[in-house]
């Protein structure tokens, strides 16, 4: 694969005395689909939260597209109680709020669906484009809805932007096959569709890297199969890199280029699906002895 788009270096996340992620280093190459698996409580979601700015990691560095995106070292009270390794290796502190990270091109979905549930599917996607709005709130309020200006030769910038955003939202929903539920309230949609919408909404931020946290949770095998196809398709269409957490092994094995497996916050294995499914450590910690295929 080409350049790495994401690199985590020795990320440690400590809550009180619990070290949820312990010196985790991994990398995701441009255009790859990489999966992160591991037993419950291994620290997968926490790792995602460190990347996306929801948590500030206790130690370590995350690099996005060759740039430091997040970096921290134990400081303040943490200095004394730090229980991870690689202390003192990092001195830089770079912290970004989740919105800044999204602005850099990293979008995510959540383990528990977090749609704007009383808004329509269309509005959900529209809102996700808000961060690209360039005009200020004054001209936005004056012109964004000024439809009567449309006949003018050059529309006000705010109006043009609004029209573009709407156009793009329609287009996106069409591309992901959600056109027919555009005006439905997101919260009323069937579960599977909600998952899809959540992904569509993430896409609307124009990400280069898409993080999916258990996208197939609560789906039956049939729906899961549809989802795998969907992920592969959007990856191609939007030239994305996908990094996902998933417990459905058939999905993981089918579409990932590489898989990382962690346990107790530490990396225990890395490799392609074949290597991982036969890795004794992974079987021991995660898959269990029986043939995993029948479980799903």
């Amino acid at each position: 694969m080409s350049e790495d788009i994401l690199r985590m270096e020795n990320i440690t996340m400590q809550f009180g005395g619990v070290v949820a992620v312990d010196s985790l280093s991994l990398h995701v190459g441009e255009g790859e689909i990489v999966a992160l698996i591991g037993p419950n409580g291994a620290g997968k979601t926490t790792a995602f939260n460190c990347i996306t700015g929801v948590y500030e990691p206790t130690n370590g560095r995350v690099e996005f597209n060759g740039q430091t995106m997040v970096a921290n070292c134990p400081h303040g009270k943490m200095k004394k109680t730090y229980a991870g390794s690689h202390a003192g290796e990092y001195t830089e502190i770079v912290s970004r709020t989740p919105d800044k990270i999204t602005a850099l091109g990293v979008a995510r979905t959540f383990q528990n669906i977090r749609l704007f549930s009383s808004l329509t599917a269309f509005e959900n996607v529209l809102i996700a484009q808000h961060m690209h709005v360039k005009t200020n709130f004054l001209s936005e309020s004056f012109f964004a809805n000024a439809a009567f200006l449309d006949k003018m030769k050059t529309k006000p910038k705010a109006r043009q932007e609004e029209l573009d955003m709407r156009e793009r939202a329609h287009e996106l929903l069409r591309e992901v096959g959600l056109s027919d539920v555009e005006n439905e309230e997101a919260g009323n949609l069937p579960y599977g569709i909600q998952r899809r919408l959540e992904i569509a909404r993430a896409l609307a931020t124009n990400p280069r890297l898409l993080l999916l946290d258990e996208p197939a949770a609560g789906m039956n095998p049939q729906e899961t199969a549809e989802l795998s196809a969907f992920i592969v398709e959007i990856k191609k269409r939007y030239k994305l890199t996908v990094f996902m957490i998933e417990h459905h092994m058939d999905l993981v094995m089918k579409i990932s280029d590489r898989i990382y497996c962690i346990d107790f916050g530490k990396m225990i294995a890395e490799g392609n699906p074949k290597e991982i499914s036969s890795n004794p450590k992974v079987i021991e910690a995660y898959l269990g002895e029986a043939d995993h295929a029948e479980n799903n």
Partner: protein
């Protein structure tokens, strides 16, 4: 088809606006005999502005703020101080005198009001830094506390020469015409609606729905909340200025927590997240309070005086009515939706249907 409906709606809207303005014109032309109605309409329009501003925070952005009275106080005092005629200032500040630097500063009402709004917005920007990090009830209590602090500061003896402390301000020039406050209110509400319908407004709603997700969509929580807070406070300050001119005399006691509660009741009655709801709510609450006045007067039917009817009964009835609305129309009258002609027409259409259903139901029973 769609176009026809749009056309019909536009025509209906124009007719409605026409009727409203014609009515106001009639009131205005006979202002002496209609002063009661005029004052109710003016007051309702002013409260509608605050209600919409509060709704923008509470209903649209999900920030439960109870600081309205404080921001109104700022707007009202700034406006009042700057528009009291210079020659009557000595009598207004008859106890402590007016600060010399202020004594001759005077502005036209609209500029003073704008300044009042801006200063209120400035305060909002300042306190936004600490308090907007708080969630729901904590935010409510903190903003409520802030309003109380403002009130204490206004009444503090140290500011006697500016705010006239305990003595309040009066001889504020009033409105000459009902159109002034109504048109200013309409402009304010229209500006807020335009903001709410823009991308920024959608970002507000996103925050209300789910902060974590909104942030993950690239919306800067703090900046967006601060924006909503500042703008809402700006219009609340303007409404304070409008109120000062309406009342012509103000003091710190005007801006107690109960004022905020009244506005909250308006917002809830109208429906959280509905601008038209807030406007309708303002007129209903203000008008209703007045309409219920007959409860306060002794009532005699056929020579027997009904013992319940005496002073204070009106407010008992009013509070019971409010409770009924809260308990039985949980989402308020508009329930987060906006007024639309189609909705109204559907409502009318449903009425005969209800009758028909009832009839057929009865028929079934008879068989």
């Amino acid at each position: 088809m769609k176009k026809d409906i749009k056309k019909r709606n536009t025509i209906l809207t124009i007719i409605l606006i026409g009727i409203i303005f014609a009515y106001m014109l009639i009131l205005q032309l006979n202002s002496a005999s209609h002063s009661y109605a005029i004052s109710i309409i003016e007051r309702s329009a002013i409260y509608a502005v605050v209600a919409v501003a509060m709704n923008m925070l509470t209903g649209f952005t999900g920030l439960f703020s109870l600081g309205q009275a404080g921001f109104m106080a700022i707007g009202a005092y700034v406006t009042a101080i700057l528009i009291i005629p210079v020659e009557s200032r000595p009598t207004v500040y008859y106890v402590n005198g007016i600060a010399p630097w202020l004594a001759n500063v005077s502005l036209p009402w609209w500029l003073a009001m704008l300044l009042g709004g801006l200063i209120a917005a400035g305060f909002a920007a300042l306190i936004g830094f600490p308090v907007l990090r708080l969630k729901s009830d904590y935010l409510a209590i903190a903003t409520l506390g802030f309003a109380e602090i403002i009130r204490a500061v206004i009444a503090a003896p140290g500011l006697n020469q500016i705010t006239n402390g305990s003595y309040g301000l009066n001889t504020i020039p009033g409105y000459h015409s009902i159109f002034t406050p109504v048109i200013v209110s309409i402009i304010c509400i229209a500006l807020m609606v335009m903001l709410l319908r823009s991308s920024y407004g959608r970002a507000f709603t996103a925050i209300r729905e789910d902060e974590v997700a909104a942030e993950a969509m690239g919306i800067n929580l703090f900046k967006t909340k601060e924006l909503a807070f500042i703008i809402s406070s700006f219009f609340t300050g303007i409404a304070g200025g409008l109120l000062a001119i309406y009342m012509r005399s103000i003091d710190a006691k005007t801006f107690q927590v109960t004022l905020t509660y009244t506005i909250l009741l308006i917002v809830v009655l109208g429906g959280l997240g509905s601008v038209t709801g807030s406007v309708i709510g303002a007129f209903l609450v203000m008008g209703g309070q007045e309409w219920l006045r007959f409860f306060d007067e002794p009532l005699t039917i056929g020579g027997v005086s009904i013992p319940l009817f005496r002073a204070g009964f009106r407010m008992v009835i009013f509070s019971i009515l409010l409770m009924v609305v809260v308990l039985f129309w949980r989402k308020g009258l508009m329930g987060g939706r906006e007024f639309s002609w189609q909705g109204l027409i559907n409502l009318f259409r449903r009425i005969p249907q209800l009758f028909r259903k009832k009839k057929s139901g009865e028929g079934a029973k008879n068989e």
